[in-house]
Amino acid sequence: MELNQMKRQINFARNSLFEQGYLDEQFTQLEDLQDDANPNFVEEIVTLFFSDSMRLIRNVETALENYPTDFCKLDDYMHQFMGSSSSIGAKKVKEECTQFQECCRVRNTEGCRRAFQRVKQEHATLKRKLETYFQVSF
């Protein structure tokens, strides 16, 4: 039956997001907060995350272009990025943010640039996967 097949596919997609480490337990916590009265809660949170994070990405890019590098500002942006990634359970994105913060800590601009490329990559991958999962465009 088509409906059952769809459900199976959705479950499969969801499980692989967890198995491949894109999402962690926090995403499940958000799912638990969803109910009939608030059926789109998770999607709403994820939407907020992507609009926020895209703004942060632009801010970090600008900050990285400035000389001398303002590590305080970068750390601040990353702290926000890390916070929201953590709040939705974006595991891989969070891990790359940690790497970036480490480069900030040792004031390594080139390291920060490379780490940020990885943050952006993970962010883009997660966005693609969640867009498929929710069948929306963020």
Partner: protein, 192 residues
């Protein structure tokens, strides 16, 4: 000894038993999540995005007669630690230094597990220091703790005002008598 007959209607229209939380966080995602966590746990929730807005909100309460505006009474403040402008720690200090607000329990939320920071917050009078992301189990535990404190202080107040101690289950038109004041309660243990 006085006898007071209490009608069910009067009880129903009196102080709401729903606890009211003021949540403070500069992150819009975290505000949305904490709001949902609290509503799911049957709290009434007000969310603000900064320490100064929190004080504004609490300040508005001070001006009002608390017996008339029980709906606005805040039973718990949950604040993020790292916020621009006023940090959660600074907000905590301001609340604990205020004669009108210091009784309100304050919980700090932070993504950072820094022992010195945790100690500082607890020493300053925070009820608890929760690590983000905050879970449903954290909120439920908090609720139990706050309810116990509320019940204790409600009993103390009733005895101070020499009103009868109301049994938890009420039937209409019951004749009630005053009971003697309770002995002093021990302080609430600090959690976390």
């Amino acid at each position: 000894m006085e006898t007071i007959s209490v009608c069910c209607d009067q009880i129903a229209s009196s102080k709401s038993t729903q606890l009211h939380v003021l949540a403070v966080d500069d992150s819009n995602i975290d505000r949305k999540v904490i709001e949902r966590l609290l509503k799911v746990s049957s709290f009434k929730v007000t969310v603000v995005d900064s320490g100064s807005r929190a004080l504004e909100y609490l300040g508005l309460e001070e001006a009002k007669d608390s017996t008339q505006f029980d709906d606005l009474k805040v039973n718990l403040i949950m604040t993020d630690y790292s916020m621009p402008g006023m940090t959660g720690f600074e907000l905590l200090k301001k609340i604990k230094n205020s004669s009108t607000l210091k009784e309100i329990p304050v919980v700090i939320m932070s993504s950072e597990n820094i022992v010195t920071r945790i100690d500082r917050c607890l020493e300053e009078g925070a009820e608890e220091y929760l690590l983000k992301p905050v879970k449903l189990s954290d909120v439920r535990r908090l609720k139990d703790s706050i309810l116990k404190t509320e019940n204790r202080s409600r009993k103390r107040k009733r005895n101070d005002d020499r009103l009868p101690v109301l049994p938890s289950s009420l039937s209409c038109h019951k004749n009630l008598t005053m009971s003697p004041p309770a002995s002093p309660q021990p302080p609430t243990p600090k959690l976390c």
